[in-house]
Amino acid sequence: MTELDDTDRALVAALAAGLPLVQEPYAEIGSRVGISETDVMARLRRLDDTGVIKRFGLVVQHRELGFNANAMVVWDVPDDLVGELGRHLSVYDFVTLCYRRPRRLPQWPFNLFCMVHGKDRNAVRAQIAILNEETDAGRYPNAVLFSRKRFKQCGARYGAAKETADIIPLDRNDRQIINNLQGGFPVCDAPFAEAGRELGLNEDEMIRHIRGMCDSGVLSRFGPLFNAERLGGEVVLAAIAVPADRFDDVAEAVNAHPEVAHNYARDHRLNMWFVVSAERPGRIDEVIAEIEAETGLHVYPMPKEEEYFIGLKVTV
């Protein structure tokens, strides 16, 4: 197996969320890891050549591309024949993964696994039939496990401590920018140059850091925070008591409304809390009525009576 050093591991961890979509992404990743652009590219080439990187490129969400039927097909193949059959099945282009895994009797008697993705179940069933007819696979006991609900899908996170697996490293300049700019951004012709002057950064550096933080998700957005009420709109906090077994479905129904901006689970009998905002007076009541009709649950609106403080800032 290829020996990886700590820098390789840090590089893989820094890439977990993908390359930033900027002109020079390897330079940007290098600055996060503390190595040069040339070193980043050399290390990636080596990891690619040695098979640590299976592929490098666009990673797509197959369901969003219409590949809605996803079957795990498994067979129980004699141990001395499984390798040959696995290599044979891998030749078919609709087989997206093919592995040997252990049997766990009595719960699990199968040892050969294939993933088959297709646009619909009939298409996938036809593809599985091809595998069973054109190879020896059809001789062996098998099962087809279609996926139903997707609870989670993201890239694997390696090389970072568990507690910090989702934490993106910030450098000193990132921190300064976050700490300084939450209170306001200059309104002038060259605002990035102006804001950078105080921090000792030039315009390009400012833009590169801010764009990097937007790409990595540290900044969920960069821009003005409007006071909806002064714009003539309305904002209301609302809560629902949702039975635990319906929580995900109700959350989905609530989130489907474009007027809902935040939605959190909280530890209370009223366990779902969200913010509804609308431009037109009366629209909020309509949205709440729609949510009640869709979910069959009572929505408790909690309009603001008096505002004491607003101006959330975090110091990093």
Partner: protein, 148 residues
């Protein structure tokens, strides 16, 4: 979801073999007869539509750290709750309901084999359910991505 002709070309050509060059998006643009700006904007748009999850590396199993496939048999009434308990572990990266007596299937990855087994032990303790663990023994397939 429908893709434009340009999106389709980018997705089909660059799920593997992404350029290791200082300006990779320009190299893509040159190869496809587009501009760097258009490539970057197209990728940003695909990401916004959640079609693109990232531009990056798919790491071979058990090279950097360790990973495994695991399955549980969960009573249907508890499925959402147990799935949420499983997904809450940052080491879990895929988690699906499947049509089988073993109805919850997930993949988890951690720094080493011991860390993987530790997460499984925690999931068993949290849920009170047995986890069937199926580590990779041999891979036959080279992942080429999806043709769209």
């Amino acid at each position: 979801m429908d893709l434009t002709e340009i999106e389709r070309r980018i997705v089909n050509r660059y799920q593997r073999g992404f350029p290791y060059e200082p300006r990779p998006f320009k190299a893509m643009a040159d190869a496809l007869g587009l501009t760097e700006e258009l490539v970057l904007n197209t990728l940003a748009d695909l990401r916004e539509r959640r079609i693109l999850s990232r531009v990056g590396a798919v790491i071979a199993p058990n090279t950097v750290g360790a990973s495994t496939l695991a399955a549980m048999s969960v009573p249907q009434a508890m499925l959402d709750q147990v799935a949420a308990q499983v997904s809450a572990h940052p080491e879990v990266n895929h988690n699906y309901e499947r049509e089988h007596h073993l109805n919850l299937w997930f993949v988890l990855a951690a720094d080493d084999r011991d860390a993987v087994l530790e997460v499984i032990r925690k999931i068993e303790a949290e849920t009170g359910l047995e986890v069937v663990e199926l580590p990779l023994e041999e891979s036959y397939h080279i992942d080429l991505g999806f043709r769209v």
